[in-house]
């Protein structure tokens, strides 16, 4: 009884947060559209072949992108979890950088490699493949990091027992490792799928209007044609599909829940042919993540006559300093709040073991963000220029990362360990303090790193809420790209390189283990 009550109290914060920042605005936006006769509108919209094509394309590109991300990410995670080798932590951090890259910068980088006049000579511009490549650039690291975290949790003795019982390496992989890592993989897969399915700017920047997604149609209908009722129909269609995906995923994940403690262990160096394997998989994922970013960096130092520092000199202003400070401040606050909201949500979901609550944690990826932002305007017009809404919106998008990683961490805690602590006389609070939280530390860190990454890159760039003194690095990049001229392009590239460098350093601070050992 008391347990239920505590859970209820703990649930108040994440539920209140979701209610204020997501559910109420979303419902307001939908209701605003319903005034115009919903049923007739539904008939009209669903009769249009064009919209079905958009739905089909959204599903297709999300499927291809997430499957490709898995095919690249899982082998890379397996080699990373099996071996220790030089520059491993560097590689792990590099893999996080795409997450902070503003979409127009990513598009520039990818196009300069495989665009019309790309460095590689491969010409993919104006093809659907470019969109998928862009999605993979952004999302493969999610798969690598989630699966890597899962693999490190598999108790070594389980694997050893299987080996002793005569299983060969493939059989161990197939029958022991993969089933145990499946919840982590499914978690990452569903996030990637939902990300790609409702993707907005990247699909638009790399695919042009020809390959626009459902979310793009919702955006155009809402903010340019003010056709909230047609948009509302598409919002519901989108919600139906994403909701179905989330239910399937939570069911699968529950069934495959594993237990196992996280422990840092010393991994062997690769030997002989293993080196080739390591080089191939980590090289491939590293290349996909790094190549577009390197070409953006090249843009920032290459002028008309070779190497120049003119672009970096150009950004040496107080504006840049202010933007840098804002970026660190806002994304830091967003990260802390994400840990609180996302962490509590994970705890509540874990305690109640309810699939509905489980699916709820994915809600920000299930609903249309365009509708939510319109909902903000309708529900809280007085807040339209307030920092609360700005940071709240970012916590909204970042906290599911914390929820997912912490939930996966909680599920793999061994119940016997908690029971023995209780039997030995520890109060519930003490069990949390001394047993659970220390064991969850690495999950929280992973989640926090993702939350920070998503906040640093996106902060304010896509939002309506702005004040000159709130400019962040990513908004400054967009502002610089708002004007023609080589100097502006070079400065935008320089600012982007700076953003990536700062992030790299932020991860270094975040991930440093107390013992000096990098568990993550």
């Amino acid at each position: 009884m008391q347990r239920t009550f505590t859970t209820f109290l703990l649930a108040l914060i994440p539920l209140g947060f979701l209610g204020f920042f997501l559910i109420y605005p979303f419902v307001r936006a939908l209701l605003a559209g319903a005034e115009g006769g919903f049923l007739r509108q539904a008939q009209e919209v669903l009769h249009e072949k064009y919209y079905w094509e958009r739905i089909g394309w959204s599903l297709q590109q999300a499927t291809y992108s997430s499957v490709l991300s898995v095919l690249l990410g899982v082998p890379a995670a397996l080699t990373l979890a099996r071996h220790d080798f030089p520059f491993k932590t560097t590689l792990m951090r590099i893999l996080m950088l795409p997450l902070v890259t503003p979409s127009i910068v990513a598009a520039m980088g990818i196009l300069s490699l495989v665009g019309a006049r790309g460095l590689t000579g491969i010409h993919l511009q104006d093809t659907a493949f470019l969109v998928i490549l862009g999605n993979v650039f952004y999302n493969q690291s999610l798969i690598v990091r989630f699966v890597y975290a899962g693999l490190l949790r598999i108790p070594e003795h389980t694997v050893q027992a299987a080996r002793v019982l005569g299983a060969n390496r493939w059989r161990v992989l197939w029958r022991v490792t993969l089933p145990l890592v499946l919840p982590h993989l499914l978690g990452a897969f569903s996030l990637v799928f939902l990300y790609c399915f409702s993707s907005f700017s990247l699909a638009l920047l790399l695919g042009g209007q020809k390959f626009s997604t459902l979310e793009v149609e919702i955006y155009t209908l809402t903010l340019y044609q003010l056709d909230l009722s047609s948009a509302g129909i598409l919002v519901l269609v989108q919600f139906l599909i994403t909701g179905l995906a989330a239910v399937v995923y939570t069911n699968l994940q529950k069934r495959t829940s594993s237990t196992g403690e996280f422990r840092t262990r010393t991994l062997p160096r690769p030997q002989g042919l293993q080196w080739l394997q390591v080089l191939f998989w980590t090289g491939l994922t590293g290349l996909i993540a790094l190549a577009p970013l390197l070409s953006v960096f090249l843009k920032s130092v290459l002028g008309q006559e070779g190497i120049t520092w003119a672009f970096y000199r150009g950004i040496l202003t107080s504006d840049t300093l202010q933007a840098l400070w804002n970026t660190l401040k806002f994304s830091g606050i967003a990260m802390v709040l994400s840990v609180v909201v996302g962490g509590l949500q994970a705890i509540v979901t874990f305690r109640r073991a309810s699939p509905a609550l489980d699916a709820l944690s994915l809600l920000p990826f299930l609903v249309s963000m365009v509708s939510v932002s319109v909902g903000y305007l309708l529900a809280y017009p007085g807040l339209s220029a307030s920092l609360t809404l700005l940071i709240g919106a970012y916590v909204l998008l970042a906290h599911p990362f914390v929820t997912r990683t912490v939930l996966a961490g909680l599920r793999s805690l061994s119940p016997s360990m908690l029971q023995s602590a209780r039997v030995l006389g520890a109060s519930p609070l003490r069990v949390w303090q001394r047993v659970i939280l220390p064991l969850l530390k690495s999950s929280i860190r992973t989640g926090a790193a993702f939350a920070l990454a998503s906040a640093i890159g996106e902060f304010a760039a896509t939002l309506i809420l702005q004040r000159p003194e709130w400019t962040t690095l990513s908004t400054l990049i967009y502002q610089t790209l708002g004007r023609p001229g080589a100097q502006n392009l070079g400065q935008a590239a320089a600012l982007s390189s700076m953003l990536l460098g700062i992030t790299y350093m932020a991860f270094q601070v975040l991930e440093e283990d107390a013992a000096g050992q990098n568990s993550f």
Partner: protein, 346 residues
């Protein structure tokens, strides 16, 4: 963890209330708004006010947001409404009448309505990458119809008129020149000749335009862009690397202005802000900040403006005509260009 909670909850609560500060002037603008920070700071100081600039996206997006929130306005004054959007704002009864005294120094042709204070104007125009045409020894097109010829296949990038104001302006220019029916068949021809559609100006200019690494040497931009190319060149060039391509009927005059928002607070300060935008200092700052022309007469332009030509307009569309046709035109444009619709099905 609990400690963090006790810190963050009050933080959330106080910031909720902090936003309702009394001496704030809320200005909603499109996202390209830019003025010297010192100028804005001076306005704040002289009037003892804190400016809240709400950047609401592209101009079209901004007006939509104002219409959605007209019962509880998100701002007191708006800058960035232009002649393509004015009628929409007036029909939605968004604006309150005010004409700044400074408008006496502004030519009559820019005054569109008693609730609209023109601040600047610009020409949406095609831009070309000069190097591309020289290298490929390709002659420049001379009419809009030339763009449909095989030698110009896959060379043009335009912004989507549904999501971008230069894109909309270019569509309006073609409608004005070719008539509604003629424009649709022109666009169907462009579609078949490989026109690329971008969401907004940034991606058209910085990812598709061949000058910046894309494959398309013709882009819909502004007549002042070649001047900006010189102004923001890495090393001062002798001439601009880009140029205007004033095909007959391809340019569009955009007049941008400011207005009071009906139901806004701080009406007096809002009026002062409009006066400020028309002041000599702001008008002088506008051309190199936003790359449009000041409406006030006698403002000295930056020398790079000699690379910005002025197109000749033979036909015009009034704001009322635009308002009456715009939504249908954009819808049909979408059907023709993006959905491959047959012209008979429009």
């Amino acid at each position: 963890m609990r400690k963090t909670l006790f810190f963050t909850l009050p933080l959330l609560a106080t910031s909720l209330f902090a936003s309702a500060h009394a001496a704030d002037l809320r200005v909603v603008t499109h996202s390209s708004f830019n003025l010297d920070k010192k100028l804005l700071a001076k306005f704040e100081q002289e009037n003892d006010v804190k400016l809240q600039l709400i950047k609401a996206g592209d101009a079209g997006e901004m007006v939509s947001k104002l219409i959605l929130t007209r019962n509880a306005p998100i701002a007191d004054v708006v800058y960035g409404i232009d002649n393509t959007l004015l009628s929409r704002a007036l029909t939605a009864d968004l604006l309150a009448p005010y004409q700044s005294a400074a408008l006496k120094n502004v030519p009559k042709k820019y005054l569109l309505n008693g609730a609209f204070n023109p601040v600047d104007y610009g020409h949406v125009a095609l831009n070309i990458d000069k190097a591309f045409f020289q290298k490929n020894k390709l002659a420049l097109p001379r009419t809009l119809g030339d763009l449909l010829k095989p030698e110009y296949k896959n060379l043009l990038v335009v912004e989507n008129p549904a999501t971008s104001s230069p894109g909309l302006a270019f569509l309006l220019a073609t409608i004005k020149e070719l008539g509604e029916k003629g424009a649709y068949s022109f666009w169907a021809g462009l579609r078949d000749n490989g026109v690329k559609v971008s969401k907004g100006w940034e991606d058209a200019y910085y990812t598709e335009f061949s000058r910046n690494g894309g494959s398309r040497p013709i882009v819909v931009s502004y007549s002042s862009s070649p001047a900006a190319e010189v102004f923001y060149a890495e090393k001062k060039p002798k001439t601009s690397p880009t140029a205007n391509l004033f095909l007959p009927g391809s340019s569009f005059l955009q007049i941008e202005g400011a207005a009071l928002i009906k139901g806004g607070k701080n009406v007096d300060l809002a009026k002062k802000f409009i006066d400020f935008l028309l002041s000599k200092e702001a008008q002088t700052d506008i051309p190199t900040q936003m790359w449009v022309y000041p409406v006030a007469q006698g403002i000295k332009l930056d020398p790079t403006y000699r690379y910005a030509g002025t197109p000749v307009y033979t036909k015009t569309l009034t704001p009322a005509e635009i308002a009456a046709g715009q939504q249908k035109w954009v819808e049909n444009w979408t059907k023709v260009v993006l959905r491959n619709a047959d012209l008979k099905d429009l």
